[in-house]
Assembly symmetry: C2
Homo-oligomer: 413 residues x 2
């Protein structure tokens, strides 16, 4: 089965927004075992939208369109898709009811143009929108093609696709699919690939596909079979094999769980608190940790110690250490980690000091050199990293590496 | 003149990476006055790449392709584009020289497959690559179309397009273009639009286009004329008009300058230091400030005070204040800003406290409520913001708002 993604919106063609919907839909479709050969973005122009839809109907089994479902005059995706599929628009009673309910709840007057959002093609499955006013739909085309229309805002598109469109797509295939992800946080993409070259090369069912994320590699294992249960059974041995090969390098096997969530959970389980002293990352480590709503259970305070004076004053880094080894050194990172744990009376201390560049380089210390210290209880480890990329990238990767170090230190304890 | 963007890469279709190249190219092309009607992404499949190129040659004046120029077997963009344009590949001496130089400098052996990167279509302008091995090129097609090939990695594509392809594109047009940007950091997109509705509606030359960025709106003014100097003269009165309407709401008119850079520069000019006490943003404000390489001139230390105890211990926030008004209150934000300036002996103090959600809401305090305090010298201002969006969005926007407050406080002083 092949699908084609069509994003409608002049704002994408003007470079006003980055098209994250396409990346999201692509990854989900791959996990469903559906091949995507083309992605097209087209502006809010009726003729060109129709041209793209008609072309897609010729060469793909499924079209997935995003955007252009709203109430304004520019929103024409539904009208054009219906026309290309040879269907009339009819009023959907439930869509109308929800629309009226929405406006009543938000105490806003419903203008006439909003009513068109309750119109849907004759032969379609409506995907009701729990996060906005425009419903989505799956148009069942007469030649057996399916045309899925989704609203443009990611906050509406993502839950609608995941909760409503995916179950329909799963049923479309003659086979059932099951996929599972294994997330690795302490190896680069090529190193991970080298470890599983045999699995990637000889694969048929299940398949293993690596996805490089910032400081992480996600391995997706996908199998198809007659039923989802059978497919799951095919996936399990491969996941077991990956567990055997990567062991503690896997931080989660849960789809929606992030590294910072794993960290907060692990700390919470041990009733530990964490404190960080950040120099080059300057708050980014804690800033990311606090992405997790429950962070307040494990975090009370932290320091951004950018100057040498601050490192001495708050963390007790020794002046001689800074003079002898410099601020970017193993010794300083160690004293920062131990010092911040003591100052904040925390169970876990993190110290990050580095040269993010540009500038400030010496013969021995190049931009990208970062030392990360992690102390848990009486034990401190320091890791030296020579990171690549620009200032921003170096700092982001340093944060990821620090998170991994904390995770492993807590596991080893 | 119309252009079409074609991104080649199976990794995009698998959702492995987000296509930021397309957004970058779209925005640049819009600024050059070139209309983009279609963007297509296609995998590393010779037949489908050729289909897309041939279709593009029929309907657009300029094709811009990214990706597929490397040394591996999968990299076929150049070969296919040359074929579609009816041209043979020939060796480019300078490209070969640079290739050999690159491998000699990095002390890596040059494998045979790398040589194909020195081949270019007969009738083209080569765009030499200062940030990688694969050169780009502008193929001059026989019917007057131009096919521009660029490498996939943004770190190679962006400088190559900006420095080498843009001057060629500018010459292609019969008219010269000039554009300027005006960046506004303290108004929403629709508020900005309302202020300039008359300018947007009646525009022809120059045009004004708003771009919404996180917490900012960029207005791009573009004019065309016979020469760039004439175009610049058309742009100036419009920029003046925008200055008149938005005044201090404009934080820069420089293309590559960010809000944090303006802040660091303004602090540096006054020989001021800044310190922040962050609760809900937990380091993100300082983390962003340190994006600027010169941040060490203006920043020594800062605090992440997540718990009430930390707010009292380091910043001197009074226990009664926390009891009476709560941690998320005007009074607490004020004491945080004043307290951190005192503790860090800084000229400027910033206190951010809020409810990023989800959870923790009360009848009076809803998720998204953030108080930001800024103290400069003896003067403290506190702003109450009710922000929308998820936890991450609320925190990011709070950081932007805090930066704007500091900028304005420094200007007013």
């Amino acid at each position: 089965m092949t699908a084609e993604i069509i994003c409608v919106g002049t704002e994408i063609l003007l470079g006003n927004i980055v098209n994250t919907n396409a990346a999201y839909l692509s990854e989900r479709l791959a996990s469903l075992g559906i091949s995507v050969f083309f992605e097209t973005t087209v502006g809010d122009n009726p003729k060109r939208v129709e041209e793209v839809i008609r072309q897609g109907l010729k060469r793909s089994d499924i079209l997935i369109l995003s955007g252009g479902l709203g109430p304004t005059k520019d929103d024409l995706t539904k009208e054009i898709a219906a026309k290309a599929c040879g269907q009339e628009l009819v009023e959907d009673a439930e869509a109308l009811r929800r629309l009226k309910e929405y406006f009543a709840a938000t105490k806003r007057p419903m203008t006439e143009n909003n009513l068109k959002q309750a119109l849907v093609p004759e032969n379609c499955t409506v995907l009701y929108n729990d996060n906005g006013t425009a419903p989505g739909m799956v148009i069942h085309e007469k030649n057996g093609k399916e045309v899925i229309l989704l609203p443009g805002p990611p906050s509406e598109l993502i839950p609608m696709f995941h909760l409503q469109a995916e179950p329909i797509l799963k049923k479309l295939g003659s086979e059932a699919l099951f996929s599972k992800v294994v997330k690795i946080d302490c190896m680069g993409e090529s190193a991970v690939e080298t470890e599983i070259l045999d699995l990637i090369e000889n694969q048929s069912n299940p398949t293993v596909a690596p996805y490089a994320k910032l400081g992480e590699v996600h391995l997706r294992v996908t199998a198809n079979a007659n039923t989802e249960e059978e497919a799951e059974k095919l996936v399990e041995p491969m996941v077991k094999e990956l567990r055997k090969r990567f062991g503690h390098k896997i931080y989660t096997e849960k789809e929606d769980v992030t590294l910072e969530e794993v960290l907060v959970e692990a700390l919470d389980r041990k009733k530990y608190t964490i404190a960080a002293a950040e120099s080059c990352t300057a708050g980014m480590f804690v800033g990311r940790l606090v992405n997790v709503p429950g962070a307040s259970n494990v975090l009370n305070e932290s320091f951004i110690t950018y100057s040498n004076e601050a490192k001495m004053k708050y963390l007790g880094v020794r002046e001689e250490t800074l003079k002898e080894f410099g601020a970017v050194s193993e010794e300083t990172a160690r004293q920062m980690a131990e010092g911040v744990a003591k100052a904040a009376k925390a169970d876990v201390g993190v110290g990050i000091t580095g040269l993010a560049g540009p500038g400030g380089e010496t013969k021995e210390k190049k931009a990208g050199l970062v030392y990360i210290g992690v102390t848990v209880g009486q034990k401190t480890k320091v890791q030296k990293c020579q990171l690549r990329g620009n200032r921003q990238k170096v700092r982001e990767v340093a944060v990821s590496k620090a998170m991994t170090m904390v995770r492993l230190a807590l596991e080893e304890e």
